[in-house]
Symmetry: C2
Subunit: 223 residues, 2 copies
DNA sequence: TATATATTCAATTGAATGCTTGAATAAGCT
DNA sequence: AGCTTATTCAAGCATTCAATTGAATATATA
């Protein structure tokens, strides 16, 4: 009995975390937080939830130990409570990928519709970027950007795109890229930008392919 | 919008898995299944749930893609759908360990009460085992047992203990051990056996310590 | 001191969850 | 064919959840 109770209590604690992961909106918040500390209203904006609702979900995540918060001035910043949360989220994604048929369907549908976005070949990007006709957008995290990126590219991670639209020239076509041809970040970015009325396409490949092809790159140091 | 919907749908799928992990009883079922394929009634027995309730939880786990089932004769055997489920569960446990104060409290309370179980020193176990006064019980998984175990030990993984009590001599004291001094399997086994009215204590250390101390071991090959 | 801004709290509503109970399948056994 | 065992299905009840709404705290700015 004593062992049984403690064990069950322990599982009940684990279940609190499972419960925190049992809602799509909370998972979306976690994904945004995986890119760094965010305030409540920034999270509400990117997730499309009301402020109050966002706040309440964040509190549930905090009670489950998945996020922490700090108050600075009149706003509260939330962040993931550790890298283990990221890998837990990854584990969730991986299991879903492998064992839920619905996920495979969604992903393939996703990629299909995206092919209608007419990707830009590397040579075309290079020529038009040199001519100043396009904005080259790198949607990877800053660390990866710093390690190397396309010449003249500006770096706005996908999660910050909604907040930093002002940094893009409104009349110039945007060409987005990320890690590789199947990296979803660039798809998302293009879809997002088009929604906002900008002209946007994605690079046919990603940064690694570009580099391997011997095309010019920049890194923070060489700048 | 299109991107937003697909993305949200994708998260909704991930959330299904989170939901499956949001209940203590389901987590307990997963833990048992991590030790191998089990029938519904075996799971109901070890988890203390009603048959119908167990069946329903298992169906939820199956719908979330975490377990699969096969029918053999008149019974249905469930098993985890992959190793990724085990590591997902591990991730859950790890996050809980690190970020939930309640878990730390429970675990320390657990270990405290267990110290009242007066662990058996290695030398005493060796002497009394040779004299045939005690049953030496290894509660680790069969693979680990096969790789090496204490001389004369019998192997009943913790999850099977409830089902295989009959294999233990009812009047002989049982000394249980597992991986190490903080391995909870042996604690659980002792608590469980005492509940069932057997005399039981645990070895002070675990198998690795025993082996390192130069005490005699057996393995399946040398048998 | 008044007035925004950012966040949280509290109350409410409709839907979902966990568990129980009793009936319905379905596969052996005699 | 009957009987037993193992599992699933279906209905019902108390509890919990997600989201909305409007009010309540803080913290800044004028």
């Amino acid at each position: 009995m004593s062992s049984g109770n403690v064990k069950h209590d322990l599982f009940a604690q684990f279940a609190r975390i499972g419960k925190a992961l049992s809602n799509a909106n909370r998972l979306e918040l976690i994904e945004h937080l995986a890119q760094g500390e965010r305030s409540v209203d920034a999270l509400a904006l990117v997730s499309g939830l009301s402020i109050a609702n966002t706040s309440q979900h964040l509190q549930q995540l905090r009670q489950a130990g998945l996020v922490t918060s700090r108050k600075d001035g009149q706003r509260v910043y939330y962040s993931l409570s550790g890298d283990d949360v990221v890998s837990l989220f990854d584990g969730l994604r991986r299991v879903a990928d492998r064992h839920l048929a619905e996920v495979a369907q969604l992903v393939s549908a996703y990629l299909d519709t995206k092919d209608s976005l007419e990707p830009v070949p590397a040579a075309e990007l290079l020529a038009r970027a040199r001519a100043g006709e396009i904005t080259v957008l790198d949607v990877r995290p800053p660390e990866e950007f710093a390690a190397g990126h396309l010449p003249g590219a500006i770096n706005i991670p996908l999660g910050e795109l909604a907040l930093r639209l002002g940094e893009l020239h409104p009349d110039r076509e945007v060409v987005a890229y990320c890690r590789g041809p199947y990296c979803l970040l660039a798809f998302d970015a293009v879809a997002h930008l088009r929604q906002r009325g900008l002209q946007a396409r994605r690079l046919e490949d990603g940064y690694p392919e570009w580099k391997v092809a011997g095309l010019p790159v920049e890194s923070e140091q060489s700048d």
